[in-house]
Symmetry: C2
């Protein structure tokens, strides 16, 4: 037997990858098991349903993303620099997965959230929370920027909601157009929107 369920972790990882690359509806439990090299019985030993696997897989993915975001949005980093790092992080991730999968994949949470929103409440609620958790990083960065005078937007909370939508929209377009170019103007657009005073070239 493998230590602390190597199997479970493999299923979580393969499930996440496969669904991000394709879609919730088009990836079957059999697909996931096959790719993971695991029997279906084992799948259902760990997860009561396909939807539960997805919830667990995306929770796991979020747990792995958080430290990265905590690093990017560290208080030790200048507010505008945090936003710069975020944009670069998004671009790098998208470029990486685009090379890995052969096409631009967009935001995994938004894609699955949108697809399942009207069908699986458990997944929908989770994606809603995850997306809001992401937004909060931006909210505090903008608030800090305004406080230190490096940005002039009047309502940092409002701005974070707007920019969250903008980023998700850009990632959606990048996926549909299968083109990373969409993401190139992201940083400039964000900086402009919050009225950032240019700090670096």
């Amino acid at each position: 037997m493998k230590k602390t369920s190597e199997t479970k972790e493999k299923l979580l990882q393969v499930g996440f990858d496969l669904i991000w690359d394709n879609s919730y509806g088009s990836v079957s439990v059999d697909d996931i098991c096959k790719r993971a090299g695991i029997n279906k019985g084992s799948f259902y030993h760990f997860f009561p349903s396909k939807a539960d696997l997805v919830v667990a897989a995306y929770e796991e993915a979020w747990k792995e993303t958080r430290p990265e975001l905590d690093r990017i949005f560290s208080s030790q980093v200048a507010p505008l620099e945090r936003i710069h790092l975020l944009c670069r992080h998004i671009y790098d991730m998208q470029k990486q997965t685009a090379e890995k999968y052969g096409h631009v994949c967009g935001c995994p949470f938004a894609s699955v959230g949108s697809e399942t929103a009207t069908q699986d409440e458990k997944i929908r609620v989770m994606m809603e929370h995850l997306m809001n958790a992401k937004r909060k990083y931006m909210e505090s960065a903008i608030a800090d920027a305004v406080r230190e005078g490096s940005a002039t937007t009047k309502d940092p909370v409002m701005a974070s909601f707007t920019l969250q939508s903008l980023i998700l929209g850009m990632l959606l377009e990048a996926r549909v157009q299968n083109d990373l170019k969409v993401l190139e103007g992201m940083e400039a657009t964000i900086m402009d929107y919050i009225g950032a005073k240019t700090v670096s070239a």
Copy 2:
């Protein structure tokens, strides 16, 4: 027999509605036929595949939307008023479908586009074109606004891309959060972004 294929039109309309309400993957040909009260053989008499039905259905939906957009973005209407009308149109449509289906549905083109982007090239390309066609309305409205001095944004084309992403992002969030409130700030955000001089209260 029904005149000039009432059946075909019914399939197009039911297909569009069902997929907007749910998702491409979760709606089967049987579902569409059942809801339309039509036999599967007839479905395949008119459409070679499910994907082809979707392409036809969304083409049809776009054909029906275009006159509405032409009206909203008429040269007879002041540029900023066009944007105002668009925002109200989006909100009204979303409210209407939310009441009809019991939840916020978001942008039909973006949802299907995102879901099928990496799986069905024919659908992906179509959604890409449709989304760009929509953007162009905004592009000319912004350009007109700048020309007449009612907006100050430097690059109307760039702005239209940004706002397109913003709108799609907001609709995506509205769907995932199942909440129309997300859309309420749309107009103010857009007007602010293009540097619109307030024309009406």
